[in-house]
Amino acid sequence: MTLISEQYDIAIIGAGHAGCEAALAGARLGKQVILFTVSADSIAMMPCNPNIGGTSKGHLVREVDALGGEMGRNIDKTFIQSRMLNKSKGPAVYSLRAQADKQRYSAEMRKTLENTPGLKIRQTEVRSIDIENGAVVSVTTVSGAVYYCKAAILCTGTYLRARCIYGEVSMATGPNGLPAANLLTESLVNAGIRVRRFKTGTPARVDARSLDFSRMEEQPGDVPITPFSFETDPESIQKPQVSCWLTYTNEETHQIIRDNLDRSPLFSGVIEGTGPRYCPSIEDKVVRFAEKDRHQLFLEPEGLYTNEMYISGMSSSMPEDVQERMIHTVPGMEHAHIVRNAYAIEYDCLDATQLKASLEFKEIKGLFSAGQSNGSSGYEEAAAQGLMAGINAVRLINGEEPIVLDRSQAYIGVLIDDLITKETNEPYRMMTSRAEYRLLLRQDNADLRLTKIGYEAGLIPQERYERLLKKESQINSEIERVGKVFLGVRSEVQELLAQRGSTPLISGASLSELIKRPELDYEILAPLDKERPKLPADVREQVNIAIKYEGYIRRQEEQVERFKKLEVKRIPADTDYDKIGSLRLEARQKLKKLRPESLGQASRISGVSPADISVLNVWLEKNRRAGEHE
């Protein structure tokens, strides 16, 4: 007998960073949304590092914000330190990172969810996804309650059949001792979904009172502070910041680890899941980089109302006593008191190659998946997928085409394309180097790239959209104006150039030409530019970058043109790869398994060679022509 039966548009399983964005997008676009969580106290929890952003992840947060997502606004409300990384390496790779007050981050997000009309939170465990005729019809909870829905989004994070391990201790819980979700995997497997087992880990937390910061190097925040959200007024968030602290492991630390490797569940085989290469545990680092005599450790505060400090760089699954001893070898941590142990966590996630670029399952209508359940790692990666899955679930219900960002539009596009195309066998972390066209995908221009798309999706209010249009037109007219300002060989000009160590002019030059010189920029040349209009800082920044890197931007745009040629060639979903004779066996198998949506996507599948792409291209062309003749 069914005890409870309710009707919603969208059911979302999991209220982590993916689930929150998906739920907000769904509800803000007018749908009735139910958000399930195993613990309503743990919404938008940050179970690992206490920060948002960082290299390439900062880009994701900016993009989420530009599309109308919540993460950027939420961290602007709750950060306690902020830094722009990579400032010496060029505008494409500037990356914003903010330390969060974890509890406040979670509480603020919960408040936002609770105050969003059409969004309901329900604490329970979902037992099954119910599918009829290849489409989702409902989800059923552990108590047997049935929630009918037109779409469901899996945002199960690291909770599916989760197991936390350190040393000989293994507990069947999710992160932070929260209950694991042990029932859902079976339902997914029965629905034909391929499931994999991944592993990740987190370092210990120590009490700040037990640390000697005089033996560490202080890492203060930036002044002034740059906000994450394009909607946040920079003036409104300038405030005192909390420092992080840098220290190092040493030979003694490494010796303790080496002596106890046989007690590490990672090396003894207790842990079966595949861990991330890009975020290795300290024991992994000591084994793999045996030649390094020290590793960096950052001590990061977990919030303003706690003394807990996160030891970044020291994730581990060593036994408790080994953890204690190795931590005590580190300068400044000789007497550290451990509040929480480091541990590794194993969990079930899905093979994301079963998804379309919309994040809907190819074979199950209305079922979407986002976040760590897709094999990614990181809060920002999760939020980005959650937002896109939320938008596309709504569009599916409305009978609209999904919104798919490609690799030349956004890091989000790179992230999703990689997840659904590359059969990654370890947790996937966003990286700057994964974005081929990163000079165009800067964190500073995410609004110019994506806010129009967010507006079309319905997540950007009219006034914000109009502000964007105004910004665009200001940028364009200023670039044009600056190109027409000519500077003669005047003493005023020569003096300023000399002052900046720049070669004096021999004949007249335009302001644009001078901005291109590495030692000069738009702001420096202001005194020579008498007619300059008063413009907001973000407009001036765009003008400077557009002029300074014009040649590079143009060449990257040419690369994008070439990339798009393959991208626009769609491969019909019903393509019979067995009928295409000269495909090599390996390519044929991969193509049959992944069923790419475009020739471009096909070209990125490992095991599919350029020659295979040629074959496929000819075949598509032939079919297209045959279709025209019919």
Binding site: T55, S56, L85, N86, S88, K89, G90, P91, A92, V93, Q296, F298, M431, T432, S433, E436, R438, L439, R517, P518, E519, Y549, G551, Y552, R555, Q556, Q559, K565, K579, I580, G581, S582, R584, S609, P610, A611, S614, V615, N617, V618, W619, E621, K622
Partner: protein, 461 residues
């Protein structure tokens, strides 16, 4: 775009279409063995269950008619030229006979192969890369030891491996830059720009070598572009006519050269001279004369060899000699002292001093000095010929264009380093260079390019 199917069975006559001892019909594709079974009778019975990698002797049948005796070679995919099942029917080599055999094979279910299609399939099936496929074409078309040896070198993959070596070096640097950007807290890029500058310089030097080698190859393959220069009435036309004389070859239209000036080919030993006929335009009214001079000078600037003519029967003016010196300075050049059959008036000492060249006595009327001229040309250009046994594959025109593209991108990297640009920007041009090099070996080949290349093959290869 040509409409290829890549999954059916193709056949063609793979030997030449002249009467010969042996002729070959090649069949490739999934039905190759079955088709052979239908057309061959072995030991008085229709062939059945032909095993792969075997040799048989049998009778080629068209219906009940015995066409010929044949040796039947079978090769199983992927260990064949095309990477597919292949059967070669080796019969006697007559054009009529071969056409009948081919027709029989086509009747049994094969399709006539397009030009280059066997090699195209070898490429598509991963048996060779694009530059190796092109080498097959060059090898077949070679006319000299130089061309044969360099095509063979390319087919062996050594050209590809040189390109791939450059590609992997570029990729290494890109990977380092990207790692540094991803992990700024652990990887320092201090001093990296200088290291990269050194690497880029070295790669550009290698590309320059390849471009030079390709230039040399062009000289040997297409001919030495030669222009005869000199003041009016020194005998340029007579010299041209003498050189062309009985050795006058067909008029060539070299692609890319201006058609306002005809080029005629003359063989000199192993070399070909492409003589630009600029002299004839001369004797006309002033305006046309001026155009003629301009054309001749334009030709001369692009020439591989300049023959500068001075009249031995006239005292040469200082101005004329300065003009000669200008032309012969940075070029391969030979100074011809023409009309030595007449009384001498030119000051050989002054000529030598001003031009820095030893003039060659010549008479267009008697033919004196012609042999010496040819010897001199051979001497000059033999330097460019690689030593025997060291023939290296040289870039063809398509490769040359990509090498230049890659070089241009690398020059931009050098510029950016010199200007102190942020490091991440280097990767844009590094990747452009990488992609251009990748196109040479076909790793980033577009379909249009593949078709273009294979359309140049003749039938049956």
């Amino acid at each position: 775009m040509k409409q290829y199917r890549d999954d059916d069975t193709i056949a063609a006559i793979s030997s030449g279409m002249t009467e010969a001892g042996i002729g070959i019909v090649r069949v490739s594709g999934p039905e190759a063995l079955k088709i052979a079974e239908k057309t061959v009778r072995i030991g008085g019975k229709p062939a059945s269950d032909l095993q792969a990698n075997t040799v048989h002797v049998g009778l080629l049948m068209q219906g009940d008619t015995v066409l010929d005796q044949a040796v039947v070679l079978t090769m199983r995919a992927p260990k064949s030229y095309t990477g597919e099942d292949v059967v070669e029917l080796q019969c006697h080599g007559g054009p009529y006979l071969l056409r009948r055999v081919l027709q029989t094979v086509l009747d049994a279910g094969a399709r006539l192969a397009m030009p280059g299609e066997f090699t195209r399939r070898a490429f598509l099936n991963g048996r060779m890369d694009l530059s190796q496929a092109e080498a097959v074409m060059d090898l077949i078309g070679s006319h000299s030891e130089y061309e044969r040896a360099s095509a063979m070198d390319q087919l062996s993959g050594s050209f590809s491996s040189r390109i791939n070596d450059l590609r992997s070096r570029i990729l290494y640097e890109t990977a380092f830059l990207e790692a540094a950007v991803d992990d700024p807290e652990h990887i320092s890029t201090e001093g990296y720009a200088e290291r990269l500058a050194a690497v880029v310089k070295e790669i550009r030097a290698q590309i320059a070598d390849m471009i030079q080698a390709a230039e040399n190859a062009r000289v040997f393959k297409a001919g030495i572009r030669t222009v005869i220069l000199g003041s009016p009435n020194v005998g340029k036309s007579s010299i041209l006519n003498l050189l062309l004389g009985s050795e006058r070859a067909i008029v060539t239209e070299i692609p890319g050269t201006t058609r306002d000036v005809l080029e005629e080919a003359v063989r000199v030993g192993d070399l070909t001279l492409l003589l630009a006929d600029t002299a004839g335009i001369r004797r006309s009214e002033d305006t046309v004369e001026r155009i003629g001079i301009e054309l001749a000078e334009k030709k001369a600037e692009a020439a591989d060899l300049i023959l500068y003519v001075i009249d031995a029967a006239q005292p040469a003016s200082q101005q004329e000699l300065m003009q000669a010196a200008k032309w012969v300075k940075n070029k391969k050049a030979i100074l011809l002292l023409n009309k030595t059959d007449l009384p001498q008036a030119a000051d050989v000492g002054a000529i030598r001093e001003i031009t820095g060249l030893e003039p060659l006595s010549f008479s267009a009327r008697t033919g004196e000095g012609r042999k010496e001229l040819y010897d001199k040309i051979l001497t000059i250009f033999s330097d460019m010929l690689p030593a025997s046994g060291e023939y290296e594959a040289a870039a063809n025109l398509r490769h040359l264009e990509e090498l230049r593209t890659a070089d241009k991108s690398l020059a931009l990297v050098e510029e950016a380093i010199a200007a102190g640009m942020p490091e991440d920007l280097f990767t844009i041009d590094l990747m452009d260079a990488y992609t251009a090099l990748s196109r040479i070996v076909g790793d980033a080949a577009s379909e249009a390019l593949v078709d273009e290349i294979f359309s140049k093959f003749c039938m049956g290869k």
